[in-house]
Amino acid sequence: MTRDRILTAAAVGILLAFLWFADRTFSAYSIRILNTIAIFSIVAVTYNLINGVTGQFSLGPNAFIAIGSYTSALLTLSPQEKAASFIIDPIVWPLSVISVSFPVSLIAAGVLAGLIAFLISVPVFRVRGDYLAIVTLGFGEVMQVITNNAVSITNGPLGLKGLYPHTTLWWSWGLCIFTIICTVRLVNSSYGRAMKAVREDETAAEAMGIDAFWTKTLAFTFSAFFAGVAGGLLAHLITTISPSLFTFFLTFNLLIIIVVGGLGSTTGALIGAVLFAWGGEALRVVEEPFTLFGYDLPGIPGMRMVIFSAILILTMIFARSGIMGRREFSWQAAIDLGSTLLQRIRRT
């Protein structure tokens, strides 16, 4: 529809104008939060594709983000920098001599993560449900062990330091918008319908000519590709990476995002990512000393995660469909909502 296209273009325009403004005036801290929101959005939207849209409960996005981060970081560091930081074991050839530009490293990050996802699909999708969860979780743990131990590739627990902060608002938000467009298009295509059919009833999907295995593999690979790209962005945002960044804890955060947003809704995943990144910062106060009603309270480390865990449990028990359920944003719905609200205001 023409109206919707114009509105979408206008919204993107406003977002770009906001980013331009933010880029010039916001503090480094605020810009970092905006970047984090974009990166979490990229992963959440595509993680939702496999978990929410296709209904295959993977717990492995941390592994793919790790693969992307390391790939991208190892490719942008100069040979001299690598030689200097690999002090336990020298870095293997050809990584020791390669150095490419940031965009190329991002593509490589996505491709490698996607390729590995594709390769492990065969064992992974032999099982379903909670077994799938455990196998993908196990894959994440194996990646964790590898990043810690393959010292001549990853520099082990020391990690990689001194990356150039390539990730600007333009990179993170540009790729975020690109990811959303690709994902929404995919979900609304025949491939997306096949994914949803597999989620709803695998036997009935196969009876209608849909190859469930390939459909799952497509969603898994697509999701891993973008998790890899997001990993590359993340590495060049925080400029220091080490295995401890990519534990199951990272997956847990993403799980909260897509569950609270509404499993199966791209819009929900976005809302969840924004709430999480923003809420995570807002809740930082509970871990630092603060004053409440005139009382000085000590900060409580770990309190944020207690709150997040409780939110996840309560969402599952009392509001299982999350904020959006499986609904998506549409301009029509937004306009309807707006006019209802307007009428209510007028009446009062």
């Binding site: 690709c182 298009r185 995919l186 295509s189 025949s190 491939y191 997306g192 319908r193 096949a194 949803k196 059919a197 709803e200 009833d201 036997t203 009935a204 999907a205 196969e206 009876a207 209608m208 000519g209 849909i210 190859d211 469930a212 497509l218 499986r326």
Partner: protein, 256 residues
């Protein structure tokens, strides 16, 4: 006489020592409506499941035309043109009515994954074709008024019709219906029989069906196969079946 479309030879299915279906020879010719009947637990649904690749046959062969399709994966068999409905309705509950039908168009999609993501190439034309055909089928089944409703929101009878519309979207050469009139009252059943005849005529369908409603089966089928406890006991036209001593014994035997 027209050619044989779907044929099984000695189709046998054993589940952990239990013989669910034993030596079924079935032949469906182009344009026929063939009924598969028998008392509960006779193995009728098992036969459909084996033909459509949902369960693996223990022995026997299945041919679609000249091609041996025994134990091929379910999606391959569906793409070759055998569509089915299920005894217990299995729709994609959370999808809309038209999406349910469009899902079955997936095997005819020519655009690639990349064309889907970019929206380029054959994407628009193909989507238009699939959605238009889905709309046509929904109109044929009298479901045009609920196109954007969720499948789970439809009443039982209309869910049955939606399942058939979905199966038809595969553009099947053979359509297998598993108890299509179960749970319908006599009026609805009669209306459905008329609808089925219309579909058969308009879409040049070949149909295999299972049902317990003898009146309905005798009314719409050209040929009927009777099985009991997994074993085929009779084959013939409705009139021949009606007077067959073994069939009467099987039904009275289970009734008594």
């Amino acid at each position: 006489m027209s050619e044989t479309l779907l044929r099984t030879e000695g189709l046998t299915v054993v589940f952990g020592g239990l013989v669910a279906l034993s030596g079924l020879d079935l032949e469906i010719r182009r344009g026929e409506i063939v009924g598969l009947i028998g008392p509960n637990g006779a193995g009728k649904t098992t036969a459909f499941n084996a033909i459509t690749g949902v369960v693996q046959p223990s022995s026997g062969r299945i041919f679609l035309g000249e091609e041996d399709i025994t134990a091929r994966p379910a999606p391959k068999i569906a793409a070759k043109g055998i569509a089915r409905t299920f005894q217990q309705i299995r729709l994609y509950d959370d999808l809309t009515v038209i999406e349910n039908v469009m899902v079955a168009g997936h095997s005819s999609v020519r655009y690639t994954f990349l064309e889907a993501v970019t929206g380029l190439g054959r994407f628009s034309a193909d989507e238009k074709r699939i959605s238009e055909y889905a709309e046509y089928l929904l109109e044929l089944m009298g479901l045009s008024d609920v196109i954007s409703a969720k499948a789970s929101a439809l009443p039982y009878g209309r869910q049955r019709k939606l399942e058939i519309a979905r199966a038809l979207a595969l553009r099947p050469t053979v359509l297998l219906l598993d108890e299509p009139v179960a749970g319908m009252n006599p009026m609805e059943t009669k209306g459905f029989a008329d609808l089925l005849r219309r579909l058969h005529r308009e879409l040049n369908l070949t149909i295999g069906l299972i049902d317990h409603d003898m009146g309905f089966v005798m009314n719409v089928c050209h040929k009927i196969k009777v099985i009991d406890h997994g074993v085929p006991i009779a084959w013939g036209t409705p009139n021949e079946i009606r007077t067959d001593q073994k069939v009467i014994a099987a039904y009275l035997g289970t009734a008594a």
